[in-house]
Amino acid sequence: MPPDGQTPRGASKPSENVTSLGMASTDEELVARSMGGDHDSFNQLVLRWERPIYALAYRVIGREDDARDVCQETFLRAFRALGGFKGQAKFSSWLYRITLNLCRDWIRRQRRQPIAQAPEGIDLLDLATETTPSESIEDLVARRELSHAVQRAMAALPDEQRTAIILKEYHGLTFQEIADLLDCPLSTVKTRLYQGLTVLRRQLAGAGMGSDSMTGRS
C-alpha cells in the first residue's frame, strides 16, 4: 500500500482498491495473488498505479501519447517479469525503475529534446472544464501559463537534475529511494536536487513567474 505522502503533487495519487471486507489490499498482497495467476489482482495494481506512472512518464519525456505508451509498456513488462520480482524493493519502486528505464530508452531513441515545448496559445474553452467555482477565468489562465512556464524551465534542466526533482517534488519518494532508483549516492541526489531547484528558481524569476509573483497574485 503506497503511503499517502508518496504523491504529494501533480494529482497523481494512486487509486485504492477495496476488498469486499472494506479493507484495501496492499500492493504486496496483490502482487502475491498476481504471481499465483490472479489477473484481476494485477489489474487492481494497474488501476492503482497507472496515474502516477503516466505522470512520471509525461514529466520525463513531455509527450502525452508517448507517455501513454511508456505507461502501458511499463505494466506489460511488469506483468511479464512478475515472477522475477522478489520483493526486496517496494512494488512502486520497481514500477518506477521500469518506467525510468523505458523513458531513458525513449529519449535515446528519439534523440530529441526530452520535454516538448508547451503550446503557444491558451484555449479558454478547454480551460473552462478545469475551473472551480471559486476560481476566475483570469486565475485559470494564469495557472495554465505558470504550468507551461514550469514545463519549459524543467525541459531546460539536465536529465539527472530533472529526474531527481520529478521523483522528489511530484512523486514524494525519499532521498534514499531516489538514490536506489538512480543508482547513485544519497548526497548526489541532494546535490542534483539543489542545483536543479536553483536553476529553476532563476529561470522562472527571469520569466516573471517567480514565487513572489505567485504569492502576490494569491
Binding site: A11, H39, C71, F75, D123, L125, L193, Y194, G210
Partner: protein
C-alpha cells in the same frame, strides 16, 4: 553549524531525523542566508505545483488472450462504451425499413395495376379490369400458359379463322332469314351453337395467355422499380453525407471563430487591467 546545502534540501522536504531538524532549526536562527534561501525554495515549490500532467482516460488492463499458461500477449485500453446497441439497431433498421416500405409501395401499385388490362391488337384498343375475371382461371393460366405459348398461337389463329367463318355463316344465315323465302335450314344453325362454346374456350385461352404475359412484364417492372429506388437511395445518402460534411465544416469554423473571439476578449481585458 556551517551552511550545508544538503541539510537545507533535506529540511526543505522534511526528510530529516528529529535530531537533524533540531540542529538545522538552531542554524536557521543564526543564518539569514539560509532563512532567505529556504523561503525562496518553499516559494519555488509552490510554483512547481502548478505543473500538472494531463488526465487522459487510461484504464489499462491486462487481458489473457487464452494462450496456454499465463502468458500475456497484449494489453488493451478500455474506452468508454458507445451506445453500440442503439447504433447497430439503427444501422440495421434504416435500410431495412426503407426497403420494406419500398417493397410495400411497389406491391400495392402492382396489385392495383394487375387488375387493369390494356390491349391493342387487330381488334382495336380495349380496356379490361381483372376484377371481373375468374381467379381460378387466371391462376391456371399463369401456370400453364408459358409452356404452351407456341401451340396456343397456332390454335388461336385457327380459332380466329373459325370464328370468322362462323360469323360469316351466321351473317349469311341471318341474311337468308331476312329474305322472302320462308325456308330456314336447321342444319345451318345447330352447328353454330356448338362452335360458340368452342370459341369461348378459345377466348379464355387467349385471355389467360395475355394475363400471363402481363404478369411477366409486371415482375420485370417491379424489379426495375426496386433497382431505381435503390439507386435513388444511394444517391440521396451521398447527398446527405455531403451536406453533413459541409455543416460540420461550418460548425467547426464557427467554433474556432468563437474561441478566437473569446481569447481576444480575455487578453484585452487582462491588458486593460
Amino acid at each position: 553549524m556551517k551552511c550545508d546545502r544538503e541539510q537545507l534540501i533535506s529540511y526543505l522536504y522534511d526528510d530529516v531525523s528529529a535530531d537533524e531538524r533540531a540542529a538545522f532549526d538552531r542554524h536557521l536562527r543564526d543564518c539569514a542566508d539560509c532563512r532567505e534561501e529556504l523561503a525562496a525554495l518553499r516559494g519555488l515549490r509552490s510554483t512547481l505545483s502548478a505543473w500538472t500532467p494531463p488526465q487522459p482516460a487510461l484504464a489499462f488492463e491486462i487481458v489473457d488472450t487464452r494462450a496456454p499458461a499465463r502468458t500475456l500477449t497484449e494489453t488493451r485500453t478500455v474506452t468508454p462504451m458507445r451506445p453500440a446497441r442503439t447504433a447497430s439497431w439503427r444501422a440495421w433498421w434504416t435500410p431495412a425499413a426503407g426497403l420494406a416500405a419500398a417493397a410495400v409501395l411497389v406491391l400495392a401499385a402492382a396489385s392495383a395495376i394487375a387488375h387493369v388490362e390494356l390491349r391493342y391488337g387487330a381488334d382495336g384498343f380495349s380496356v379490361r379490369t381483372g376484377w371481373n375475371g375468374s381467379p381460378a382461371t387466371t391462376t391456371a393460366a399463369a401456370l400453364v400458359a408459358p409452356a404452351a405459348a407456341p401451340d396456343q398461337t397456332k390454335k388461336l389463329e385457327a380459332a380466329y379463322a373459325d370464328v370468322e367463318r362462323r360469323i360469316r355463316d351466321l351473317e349469311t344465315a341471318t341474311h337468308n332469314a331476312a329474305l322472302p323465302s320462308p325456308v330456314r335450314p336447321v342444319s345451318q344453325i345447330t352447328p353454330a351453337r356448338g362452335s360458340d362454346a368452342e370459341v369461348l374456350a378459345r377466348v379464355r385461352d387467349l385471355l389467360s395467355q395475355s394475363e400471363s404475359r402481363q404478369q411477366r412484364e409486371l415482375a420485370l417492372r417491379i424489379a426495375q422499380v426496386v433497382r431505381d429506388m435503390d439507386a435513388q437511395r444511394t444517391a440521396d445518402l451521398s447527398r446527405i453525407q455531403q451536406g453533413l460534411g459541409r455543416i460540420d465544416a461550418m460548425t467547426t469554423a464557427d467554433a474556432a471563430a468563437h474561441r478566437e473571439l473569446a481569447n481576444y476578449v480575455i487578453s484585452s481585458t487582462r491588458q486593460q487591467k
